[in-house]
Amino acid sequence: MAVTDQTQIQEHTTRTCHLRVYRSSAGNGDGHFDEFDVPVDGCETLLDALRWIQLNRDHSLSLRHSCLHASCGTCGMRVNGREELACVCKLAEHGDEIRVEPLANLPTRTDLVADMGPLYDHFPDPHPIIRVSEVLPAARRPDGHEAYVRLEDCLECGLCVSACPIGAPATGFVGPAALAAAGRLLEEPRGAERDDVLSWIGRAEGVWQCTTCNACVQACPAGIEPLSAIIDMRRILVEQGDLDPLLQHTLQNVAMQGNSYGKSARTRARWTKGLDFTIPDARTEPVDYLWFVGDYASFDERVQRESRRLATILHDAGVSFGLLFEGEHSAGNDVRRVGEEGLFEMLVEHNLSVLREAQFQAIFTTDPHSLNTLRNEYPAYGLDKPVYHYTELLVDLVSRGIVSLSAPLTGTRVTYHDPCYLARYNQITDAPRALIAATGAELVEMPRHGANTFCCGAGGGRIWMDDSGPGERPSEQRIREAQTLDAIDYFVVSCPKDLAMYTAAAQTVGDVSFEVVELTALLERALSDRSRSAAAAPA
């Protein structure tokens, strides 16, 4: 017994965590990683580990810290690619290999020290940090006090700016922290002129840059939701008619025809013409699944091919599914996110009235944006059917052997891009990976993947606005990220917008050795004995 105990103690005391820490000296382009083994015993947080390195291994390691309890926002850094405050970053939650880098989108002074100056350059003026407290509503105010006061929740830590796909200084975007502060000023002006704040947020560098990817909300250590503030402010601007002409035109299209393309509503299901079977109209014929196709998969020529491919796979598998045909209108996810709440509610009302006519058990959709609003927002208006992404449906069919992938793509190497509205909003990251695994292809992950994915730049209505601003587009940065992987054959996507965005981005970046494909295309290649191909069918 004694020997065993001794061994356990030794193992315990010698267990180490391997840290790769970014180093650079001021003004030199000498960035590199230094490696340290840190004893886990006695180091609860990443900050403990970094201070252990300072005291025991390398005195010159520079980092910022102050309060040690997530109240000052000084020790922000990237931990395995994710923004964290080191003082509350538990080592135990990060495994034995940890990569530590300074915040992105801010200049690095040295090592892990970000220069916070640019963060403040973008804060609205005035920049009050004391607010009237709205907590403890039961409390009576003390005599002589107009109200309780408190410090603003924002720690000014820069984590949201680092996580923002549009946060690079070159874009000029004022960033989520400054916009959240502007949102607070509109709620509680404290000396600010409302019109000044509105004209500031309405600039090209203001609220319209946001892709609504939700990374800022997930990075914030103080529970602030910059994105909610951004959408609320867009609503005010839209109400005033103060919006990008291109966007205004798109919203008019949606209002007139129920789709963002401005095509006649009657042509919505024209993509089915190339199929050698007929898809039932769920409004007149009961089906198991109602396919809510979405605007891009219905109208974009390139994505229409993918829609036909999916239709064929499902048809061949004997799945009972139908469409709403011209009855389907845009689900309104992005209409809501650009701040057009009234139009969103009209779309919900229309779609729900058509859905009520139809007979089905569950909805699936090809579009993660539609999925998000149908699954999370339509229930508040009365939708009571489950909503799935097509990858969830296909995983079920594959696992039950209804779809058989018997021509494995052995030797094929792919990477997969998680769409924000699947991964960040709806935690759907396993289903697409399970499908890729089922094809026999080898999945090579990009550094940013799963719930920590990187935005394609199209969300939140950005795809309807001019994106020719300064700075490299997020979709192009993402293609470059995939280029760092070794010998990839396919860049796989599962969102119609992604197919459009990344096909274009790959052309712009140029010299790309992989092909951008929809997950359905990969699946089709792994299906056995397929004599026909939807893609090959005449459009």
Partner: protein, 394 residues
Amino acid sequence: MSTQHDAHVLIIGGGGTGGALAHDLSLRGLRVTLVERGELTSGTTGRHHGMLHSGARYSVGDHESAVECIEENMILRRICPGSLELNDGLFIAVEDEDLEYLEPLLEGCEASGIPAQQLTPRQALALEPNLNPQLKAAVRIPDGSMDAMRLALRFFATAQHNGAHIRPFTEVEGLLVHDHLVSGAVVRDHATGTEDEIRADLVVNATGPWSEKIAAMAGVDVPIRPSPGVLLALRGRLCNMVINRMHKSGDGDIILPQRALSVVGTSSWVVEDPDDLPVPADHVARMYSEGAKLIPAVAHSEQRAAWSAARPLVGSRGEADSGRELSRTFKTFDHKETDGLEGFVTITGGKGTTLRGMAELCSDVVCRKLDIDEPCRTRDTVLLDHAAYYAAAA
């Protein structure tokens, strides 16, 4: 602004004390360089409870500290508008024996000039509904919360604006000592990796619990005990006022709101090395159990963080074991007087609330030594916003 003086003062230590000192000396027209081995406020300053003391906590037994606190409390309200949560504080009695402290507290506050108002338990609960409903007495005093890091940063921002050269990530490797005179320091700039000498007419050691280490570089000793305390940050704002236990200062007897957190503190013991501060699990447990006596919801609140901060208490070895017995006042040591060493001053002790006052007295000593006749101007100079520090540094 005062006239410019050629005298150059090197301040070692980028905490609240060093920042306030750099601000004071810059306003008096001196040339100031401040070096800090890490980021500003990375030592004790950023980690303290964040309490703007009324002085009531010290009014029974430490009259000197109590008077300093209420004076500085009122000055900070003037010069740091917008950086303080000014919701007042309560002392509450939760056990019968706490009531024995009521009269001494009221008398102590009166003697120290601290406005104190006795409330009935019902009145206290109306102000702070989460208090222990069994409370037996309450006294309202002008405590508050501060942003420990950003309040200090405003001093740095203003000092920098007035010409002070603030150098974080710059570590002192040695002092230039010849013939009983300190004439500067050898520093390493961690950002560039370079070493250089900073010559100064006077060097001030403002390194708090690290004072002994810096003083040792000049071959002298200062009677400073690093006395850590454990603090516990809980998720959720359980109170708006500062809640104090009505008894002699003890463990876990203050709960302070801070943004969306509630911070319970603290404990007290004495260590040798301020760089090596454990967070003993039994101290954290005591913060929970003692804090819950003030606000029962503490017991079920989720821990956001627990940490230790080292106070720089003035006192000799063997004088005190727990640190509780040591005064919270501050002291300037002119090493010419204590050790026959010219050009070197240590300022230490004190607390966040009194940082400006400490700097004033220390600046008086510095100016006297340098034969400069300039008055202190910090009592009425409103400090720049903390963001000005970064804007100028960029």
